[in-house]
């Protein structure tokens, strides 16, 4: 009966892609241990969402429905999840290594007195023991780890790594509404306001394609040509920057890629005017395909790139935008 649990993350009435990735991973783990696969979600007005997860592989869906969960707060979510987990005693508890997961799961693990693997690139089962692999030193090294003595074994999966398995529309999950609701007046934190970002693009860590600019961009205004290329690629594309570009004031820090920025894992990473410092390479070298555009043929980035163009990015990038648009319009 102890189960494999995944935290189903949703936003604005839709599940995030990581939820389906976690269920796909969960199915694989279930085939090894035989334990039931359960999804857990919290929110307000989420009954309809809770009913959608059967076809993706959930045997059971637990949902915590309350006004207090309308806005995410680590305090209330930790309490709800911990109480439910203590009562059901699952052997595994997984979330996405997303902004929400990374804020929430460390406290859930501390409260449950168990171990947690952050930002895992591989999660497997061996004799009911979770075997995780995670990059450390920003990806310069991979570390294997286990949580042998405590339950649940907790881990966060890096987005974009798992292929979503086929949907079985006939499969139904048992949907269970649970109650473990902290009182709003007992909380010591309160969400006052959400400040929307300038761009509506998705987060770098979840992007399929990243168009990234470095010192060679020369100016903040010039990032516009990267935005245009990103727009040409369409949905799932984000713009990134190197530390040199951020420190020069060309781009905000929340799009910085590298050891003191974000570690990313897109299908395609296009590095424009980025020389490729050891810190930057650590943050993006697991990208499936890397394209480098740089004037300097000796730039270290070319050693990591699948495709390189030696040339002026201000000439190359707009031409790429044109070509991508042309190809897309041809269908």
């Amino acid at each position: 009966m102890p189960g494999i649990w995944i935290l189903a993350e949703h936003k604005e009435g839709k599940f995030k892609k990581i939820t389906y990735e976690l269920l796909s991973l969960g199915k694989k783990l279930k085939s090894k241990s035989g334990e039931e696969l359960c999804a857990l979600l919290l929110g307000s007005g989420i009954e309809n969402l809770a009913n959608q997860l059967g076809p993706y592989g959930a045997d059971k869906v637990y949902y915590l429905e309350d006004e207090v969960y309308k806005s995410y707060l680590n305090e209330s979510y930790t309490q709800g999840i911990s109480e439910l987990v203590k009562s059901q005693d699952p052997s595994i508890l997984l979330a996405g290594a997303t902004a929400l997961g990374k804020d929430l799961f460390p406290r859930v693990a501390a409260r449950l007195g168990t171990g947690l693997g952050t930002d895992c690139t591989s999660i497997d089962l061996d004799n009911n023991l979770l075997k995780i692999t995670r990059p450390i030193y920003a990806g310069k090294v991979l570390m294997e780890a286990t949580i042998p003595q405590t339950k649940p074994q907790m881990a966060m999966l890096r987005p974009n790594l798992i292929e979503i398995s086929p949907v079985d529309s006939s499969k139904k999950a048992e949907v269970i509404k649970s109650k473990a609701n902290p009182k709003k007046e007992d909380l010591r934190t309160m969400l006052k306001e959400i400040l929307k970002g300038e761009s509506k693009k998705i987060d770098l860590t979840e992007a399929k394609i990243i168009v990234s600019g470095g010192r060679g961009m020369k100016d903040k205004e010039n990032f516009r040509i990267l935005e245009e290329l990103a727009d040409a690629f369409g949905e799932g594309t984000a713009v990134g920057a190197s530390r040199a570009a951020v420190d020069s004031g060309f781009a905000p820090h929340d799009i910085q890629v590298g050891q003191t920025g974000k570690v990313v894992n897109p299908t395609l990473y296009i590095a424009c005017g980025i020389s490729g410092s050891i810190q930057h390479l650590a943050g993006m070298s697991t990208s499936k395909y890397i394209v480098a555009i740089n004037k300097d043929p000796e730039a270290p980035i070319f050693q990591k790139a699948d495709y390189g163009i030696v040339g002026d990015l201000f000439q190359v990038v707009p031409l790429l935008t044109q070509e991508v648009k042309k190809l897309k319009s041809e269908g």
Binding site: Y137, R188, T189, K192, E193, T267, I278, I309
Partner: protein, 264 residues
């Protein structure tokens, strides 16, 4: 406002990492050690708060003897007191036991605010801030890029980064833990008089006995996450440089992205 800052000493981000012979750790000889970059923002923020509201900044660091160098950097920037948590029993700590030891030390000092970096750039676990909050029964805000205090009301307003450029404003009751992110401030350089003064400052050392901890509950023994083998990620090989005039090269690249990489 008394502020406690928890920091860690880590290899400089320029370091080329080499594994030891049995792949259980990295080779530490010859490494240049620095204060964890994110902890610099925590130290700077603590100093700014002290300058505005008065009080004392205390540095806490769990680590080997060499960590005093990172502590001295913080003292040279302007921190008042420092505690090194050092004991052979602490070796091999994971986030859980690190937070446990730090929380024991924190409960021996006075604080209104606890600041730390959002993650250490060595093991990248990003969990200690939450463990501290849990063990001390405090609220926390992570990935903080802005912090405003209201000491009279014992409250703070923290701006935190979420995703896709979005930010949240969180009101929190003090005392609380804040995990600092890069955009929060610009860390100052230590002044020469600061460096001279820091050299003479006493760094208090606390171990297992002083913290009344059970050796079974700390270090590698008490860790919940057990480290296994280390390996180096597969090296990428350089691919092809697309030759020719720029317009042709651009067209060829897009064609390759569609036909080989199947992206477009």
């Amino acid at each position: 406002m008394n502020i406690a800052v928890c920091l860690k000493q880590v290899p400089d981000t320029e370091t080329k990492i080499v594994l030891n012979s049995d792949s259980t750790d990295i080779v530490t000889e010859g490494i240049k050690w620095v204060m964890n970059p994110y902890d610099e923002y925590a130290v700077e923020e603590a100093l700014k708060i002290k300058e505005k509201y008065g009080g004392k900044v205390t540095i806490l660091c769990l680590g080997q003897e060499r960590s005093v160098e990172a502590i001295r950097t913080a003292l040279a920037m302007g921190a008042d007191d420092a505690i090194l948590l050092n004991d052979p029993a602490f070796e091999g700590s994971d986030s859980y036991t690190t937070a446990l030891v730090l929380s024991k030390a924190l409960s021996q000092i006075e604080y209104d605010i606890i600041l730390t970096g959002k993650q250490a750039v060595d093991l990248d676990c990003s969990q200690v801030f939450a463990g501290l909050a849990e063990f001390l029964s405090l609220p926390y805000v992570s990935i903080v890029v802005g912090l405003e205090l209201f000491p009279d009301q014992k409250k703070a307003l923290a701006k935190r980064e979420t995703e896709g450029g979005e930010k949240e404003l969180i009101e929190v009751t003090l005392p609380a833990v804040f995990a600092c992110q890069k955009d929060l401030n610009t860390p100052r350089y230590a002044s020469l008089p600061g460096i001279m003064k820091a050299k003479k400052k006493e760094i208090k050392k606390l171990g297992l006995a002083e913290l009344c901890l059970n050796p079974e509950h700390v270090g590698a023994k008490g860790s919940k996450l057990k480290k296994g083998k280390y390996s180096l990620p597969p090296q990428r090989k350089a691919g092809i440089k697309i030759e020719g005039e720029i317009p042709e090269a651009a067209a060829k690249l897009v064609k390759l992205l569609r036909e080989e990489a199947k992206i477009i």
